[in-house]
Amino acid sequence: MSGARTIYDKIWDDHLVNKSEDGASLLYIDRHLIHEVTSPQAFEGLRVTNRKVRCPEKTLAVVDHNVPTTDRKNGIADEESRIQVEALAKNCKEFGIEYFNELDVRQGIVHVIGPEQGFTLPGTTIMCGDSHTSTHGAFGALAMGIGTSEVEHILATQTLIQKKAKNFRINVGGTPPKGVTAKDIILSIIGEIGTGGGTGSVIEYAGKAISDLTMEGRMTVCNMSIEGGARAGLIGPDEKTFAYMKDKPRSPKGDDFDKAIVYWNSLNTDKEAYFDREIYLDAASLPPVVTWGTSPEDVVSINGEVPDPELMDESKRQTKKNALEYMGLEPGTKIKDINLDIVFIGSCTNGRIEDLRQVAKVVEGHHVNENLNAMIVPGSGLVKEQAISEGLDKIFMAAGFEWREPGCSMCLAMNPDKLLPGQRCASTSNRNFEGRQGFRGRTHLVSPAMAAAAAIAGHFVDVREFTK
C-alpha cells in the first residue's frame, strides 16, 4: 500500500488475511467480546457443524443485558433470563473461553469492561455481537457490531468476510461551553447527519473538541456512531490513550508497551489522506440537547421546543407525526416544560466513572424531585468500586437516587428495570426507539449532567443555569 492513508485504511491493511477480486476481503479479528443475548445460537451452530473455537483466548465473555441490578446473590428470578445466562456460562466452559459471571467484580457492560481490562487496544480489530461495539473506536481500534452468524464465523475462524467501508471524517473544532458534554456533541452530530447519515462509512472524529475530551468522553462519542448509521467510529490514539492503557490488566507490559506505542503512533491519519466525505462542526456553538422523538436524530436544544412535523420534509412527516403521538407531545411545547417520571443514568454510553462524577457534581446537596424516581446503574463492578472509593455513592443516596449493581439495565429493559406504559424518562442511554425502555415507555436522551439536573427539578432544565 502506498500513498496517504486514514487510520481506518491502515488498520484495514494490517489485518487483511487475503483480498479477493470482488472486494469482499478476509479480515483478521484480534479481539472478540461476547454476551449472553447474541451468542447462544452461534455456539449452537458450532456444535451442529462439529466445529471448534479457533482461538479461545481472543474471546472474552461477560453477562450484562439480562442481569438484575438489585442483589444477585440469590440468582436470577426470571427463568428465560436465567437460561440465557446459564447457556453462556456453559458454552464458555465447553469451548474454553474466559467468562466474567454476574458475581465477578469485573463484570459489567461489555463495552465498559473491554477498555477497563485493557482487552481493547489501539490498532486492533475488535468485534462483538452488539451494535455499540463502536465504543472501542475511542482507542483507535477498528471496532464493529456484528450479527450472530458473524459471531459464529469469528469463533470458528478468527476472521470476518468484510467489504471496505467509506472514510467519513467529522471535525469538531472549538471548545464547548461549560455544561456541554461529549454526549451533547454526538447527539448534535446525529441531529445533523441523521440516523442514516453514516451508512456504509467508518467515521473518524477529529478536531480540537474531540482531542480535548477524556477517554470516557471519546467513548461516549464513538459509542453512538451506530446511531448515525456508521459501521464504526474512530479517534486517532494519542498520549491520553496511552496513559489510559498503561497498567490495565491485559495491556502490553514493559518493552512490549513501548514497542506498541511506536506502532500506535504510526496509525494516525496522514495529512493528505482522502475522505469520501467530511463535515465540520463548531463545539463552541453547541447547547446541551434533548431528544424529543423516537429516533436519536430528533435532537433539539434545551432552550428549544418540540418541532412541528407539518413543517418537515414530506418523506419524514408521517413518521415524525407518529413519533410525537407516541411521545405524547404537542408541537411548540417548550422542552423545559416537559415533566418526567423516571431518570435513568447508566449504559455503555454514559455509565463510566467520569459520567458518575459529573452527576455527583450536579446533585450534591440537592434532592431528587418528589414526583419522580431516579436510578444510577454503574457500567461495571470496577466503576462501582471506584465511585464508592470516591464517596460518590453517598452523594447519590443522600440525594435520593437508587444505586444499583452494574449491567445494561433500563437501557433496553431486558431485565426487571423497565418503564411502564406512558412513563416519561430522561435517559443517558443511546436509543429512544418505541418500547426500548419498556412497552410504550417514552425516552428522552440527554447527557449525565442534564439527566442529573432534571432529576432534581422534575422537568428538563438547562444544566448551565442549574449549576450557577
Binding site: 488475511v17 478476509l26 437460561i83 458473524e150 478468527q158 476472521t159 418500547g435
Partner: protein, 201 residues
C-alpha cells in the same frame, strides 16, 4: 443454508422510515437461545392490541396481505441494534425479500447470512412499488435473483443491483464459515507473521 429460488408473492407496504430492529423484534423475544420461532414476535408492538388480539390496522393483519412474502418499506430499514433476531423473525414469519431505498449496514449483512434478500431501489422505484402494493393480493411481485429483476403483475420490470459474491452465496446456499475454513492456511500464516511484528496483540 437453503438456496434462494425465484418466487412470486404478495408484497405488503410498510410506509415508515427508520424502522429499527427493536420495532422488528422487541427485546422480550431476545431471551431465546434458538433461531426459530421468532415469527410470533415480529413487529409485535404494532401487530397486536394490548389484550393480545390482532391489531386490524396493522398491514400484515389485513386479509389482502395475509400471505405476503415481500415487504416494501421506507428509508434506513433495520437501523439500531445488531440483533440477528430481526431477519430470523422476518424469515420465520415468511418474509424473504425486503425492498427499500436503504438499509442499515448490519441488518443488510445479517439478511444474507440467513438466505434473505434485501433489495435497494431508488426513491421513484420504491414509490412505484408502494403504489403497486396498495392493490393488495392482486399485485404480486416476481423476484428473480439470477437476472436481478422484479416483475410487477402488469409485467413491468425493475432491475436491481447486488454484490456478486453475496448473490453467488444466496443462489448456492453457501455457508460462509465453510468457505473461510478453506483458507485455513492463509489464516495460520497471518497469525505467525503477526506474532513477530505485533507480539503484544
Amino acid at each position: 443454508m437453503e438456496k434462494f429460488k425465484n418466487f412470486t408473492a404478495v408484497a405488503a407496504p410498510l410506509k415508515e422510515i427508520n424502522i429499527d430492529t427493536d420495532k422488528i423484534i422487541p427485546k422480550q423475544y431476545l431471551k431465546t437461545i434458538q433461531r426459530t420461532g421468532l415469527g410470533k414476535g415480529l413487529f409485535s408492538e404494532m401487530r397486536y392490541n394490548d389484550d393480545g388480539t390482532d391489531n386490524k390496522n396493522f398491514v400484515l393483519n389485513q386479509d389482502k396481505y395475509k400471505n405476503s412474502k415481500i415487504l416494501v418499506t421506507g428509508d434506513n430499514f433495520g437501523c439500531g441494534s445488531s440483533r440477528e433476531h430481526a431477519p430470523w423473525a422476518l424469515l420465520d414469519y415468511g418474509i424473504k425479500v425486503v425492498i427499500s431505498t436503504s438499509f442499515a449496514d448490519i441488518f443488510y449483512g445479517n439478511c444474507f447470512k440467513n438466505g434473505m434478500l434485501p433489495i435497494v431501489l431508488d426513491d421513484k422505484e420504491v414509490s412505484l412499488l408502494m403504489e403497486e402494493t396498495e392493490r393488495g393480493a392482486n399485485a404480486t411481485l416476481g423476484i428473480d435473483l439470477e437476472n436481478q429483476e422484479i416483475t410487477t403483475s402488469d409485467g413491468n420490470i425493475i432491475n436491481f443491483k447486488i454484490d456478486n459474491f453475496l448473490k453467488h452465496c444466496l443462489l448456492n446456499g453457501l455457508d460462509d464459515i465453510a468457505l473461510t475454513l478453506e483458507k485455513d492456511k492463509d489464516i495460520g500464516n497471518y497469525e505467525t507473521e503477526i506474532k513477530n511484528i505485533r507480539p503484544w496483540v
